[in-house]
């Protein structure tokens, strides 16, 4: 418990608490407006969402005044925050004294947490790249014309749930775990546990092929390669299975391919997490050059 309080009281971690509160608030705000709009839409009164008679307001004063008040409020909060809480400054930099645990800035702890499940070239390089590229690709993948410019749930269930899952579970929750539940040696510590730097965790992890009694590294290579390829082929299978649906037809093969690839990469993380927790699996595919 002391640890938790210690971490919580670190001034750099206050933003995480603020973020969680704000996210909760705004998610509720979204949900309430979305349900209201959904009700209006399913009653066939879509036009009620639009401003009546294309109603327009003057920016001066009606928008400028909001901006002005918002700016004052934000600056006020920032001032109080800066008076109340000092930015951290620890001992002078010392390259020969590594703190344990060493943590990245809080907003990157989700990435650092991924290192538990994937090697650095995936967790530290490929995934960040895919996150950026994947986010940029969203507008070109999502062909659903509905839900443009208003809050809704009903009309965009798949897009919204994928985004919410990625953002809340795979990003924010991992930041939370990385900040509050990871101690020395990046070992897992429950909030009430003391951080014991000598905690020994048995290395019981095995590779997937060992589960199947495969000994030869060549066979293991082929086996792992097969599993990973098969996983990504799920996209192709789905494509042919649903070929005649409107969803696939409006998307087209190329667009669907990109989406399926990104989606499967994203789901690779929770899958690997489950494999680790449930079966102590370290790698699915072992090669002389890289492991997945």
């Amino acid at each position: 418990m002391e640890n938790l309080i210690l971490i919580l009281s670190k001034p750099d971690n206050l933003p995480i608490a603020m973020m969680v509160v704000l996210l909760g608030y705004y998610t509720l705000l979204w949900w309430r407006q979305a349900r209201k709009n959904d009700g209006i839409i399913s009653d066939g009164r879509y036009s009620e969402l639009q401003d009546e008679n294309n109603d327009r307001i003057f920016v001066w004063p009606y928008l400028v005044r909001i901006e002005f008040l918002a700016a004052i409020l934000v600056l006020l909060i920032l001032t109080v925050w800066s008076v109340a809480l000092d930015a951290p400054l620890e001992h002078p930099a010392n390259p020969s004294k590594t703190p344990n645990p060493s943590k990245a800035p809080w907003y990157f702890l989700g990435l650092q947490e991924m290192l538990v499940y994937f090697d650095p070239w995936i967790a530290g390089v490929i995934f960040p790249t895919l996150i950026i590229v994947g986010l940029m690709a969203i507008p070109y993948i999502d062909k659903n014309p509905k839900g443009n410019g208003y809050y809704t749930w009903m009309e965009r269930k798949f897009a919204l749930s994928t985004f919410l899952f990625g953002f809340f579970v795979l990003w924010v929750a991992l930041i939370f775990v990385g900040t509050f539940l990871r101690g020395p040696g990046w070992n897992f510590f429950a909030p009430w546990e003391a951080w014991d730097p000598h905690k020994v965790v048995a290395m019981v992890n095995v590779d997937l092929h060992q589960y199947f009694g495969i000994r030869s590294s060549v066979v293991a290579f082929l086996f792992g390669g097969f599993i990973v390829t098969a996983y990504f082929c799920l996209g192709i299978v789905y494509y042919y299975w649903k070929k005649n649906t409107d969803f696939i037809k409006t998307m087209g093969a190329a667009r669907f391919g990109v989406m399926a690839f990104l989606f499967l990469c994203m789901m690779g993380l929770p899958i690997k997490m489950l494999l680790r927790w449930a079966f102590n699996i370290k790698y699915v595919w072992v090669t002389p050059w890289f492991n997945i």
């Binding site: 933003p15 401003d51 327009r56 003057f58 920016v59 400028v64 400054l89 530290g124 809704t152 890289f290």
Partner: protein, 257 residues
């Protein structure tokens, strides 16, 4: 008395100097409401009128604007900090202490800069969240979403490069952990897949380029300082200009079609 004040006011507002600065009167007329926005360099990024829903806080959450405000705060406080801070291993940490104990309001300045930066990370995520929830990335705003993702990346990089500058244990180890990833870059890192096969060593791979050495050291401090104070803020400003301009060109804030 009354007459005197009126006269003074008249002679002031009718003078050439005044008229050269303020091109219209302040009377509350529709025409002046337009001009108030159009004639003002700071406000002219706005349209003169907007759809009713676009001015609702519960629609935009003001998050894009707040992100921009926080960026301005970091820019102003950052310039002030630059007066006192020297990006070398000998001085950096001492300058932090100097700010804390000797510079009037030095600690407040540092706090403000740091909390505004952390706040900006939060608000930029919330802004993206809202844009996603309102589906505002859909045509015709696809490209502005892409510009937004660039802004998001740059915001995080700004925060990360700034994290190193205090040159204390917290900062060098956080940056060490972060930049260690670069060793594992496929092809370009000495521990990445196919890196060694391509001749990557600790002293010539992509991490070396980033750090200016094989570990986080004085050259890294200088590199991150230059990125943090010059390159990235300019980069962010340019893309913000594109972002704001695109909002107008894409037909203003999104709304039910």
């Amino acid at each position: 008395m009354q007459a005197f004040i009126e006269k003074m006011k008249d002679s002031a507002t009718k003078s050439q100097v005044w008229k050269s600065m303020f091109r219209h009167s302040y009377e509350d007329t529709p025409r002046n409401r337009y001009l108030q926005v159009l004639d003002n360099v700071w406000l002219h990024l706005h349209p003169t009128r907007i759809p009713r829903h676009a001015g609702a806080i519960r629609f935009t959450w003001c998050m894009g604007g707040i992100t921009w405000l926080l960026f301005l705060v970091t820019a102003v406080t950052g310039v002030l900090l630059m007066f006192y801070y020297r990006p070398t291993a000998e001085y950096a940490f001492n300058d932090m202490k100097y700010l804390e104990f000797d510079v009037p309001f030095g600690m407040f300045l540092r706090n403000m800069h740091r909390w505004a930066a952390h706040g900006m990370v939060i608000t930029v995520w919330l802004h993206m969240f809202r844009v996603f929830l309102t589906g505002s990335y859909k045509p015709p705003r696809e490209f502005n979403w892409v510009v937004g993702v660039i802004l998001l990346t740059v915001t995080l990089l700004l925060s990360f490069t700034g994290y190193l500058l205090p040159w204390d244990q917290l900062s060098i180890w956080a940056v060490t952990v972060g930049t260690n990833m670069a060793r594992a870059t496929p092809l370009l890192g000495h521990e990445g897949p196919f890196g060694p096969e391509l001749g990557m060593r600790p002293d010539n791979d992509v991490r070396f380029v980033l750090l200016g050495g094989t570990q986080v050291g004085p050259p890294t401090l200088l590199r991150f300082y230059v990125l943090h104070c010059i390159f990235l803020p300019i980069f962010l400003s340019i893309f913000c200009a594109v972002h704001f301009w695109r909002i107008r060109k894409d037909g203003g804030i999104s709304g039910p079609l």
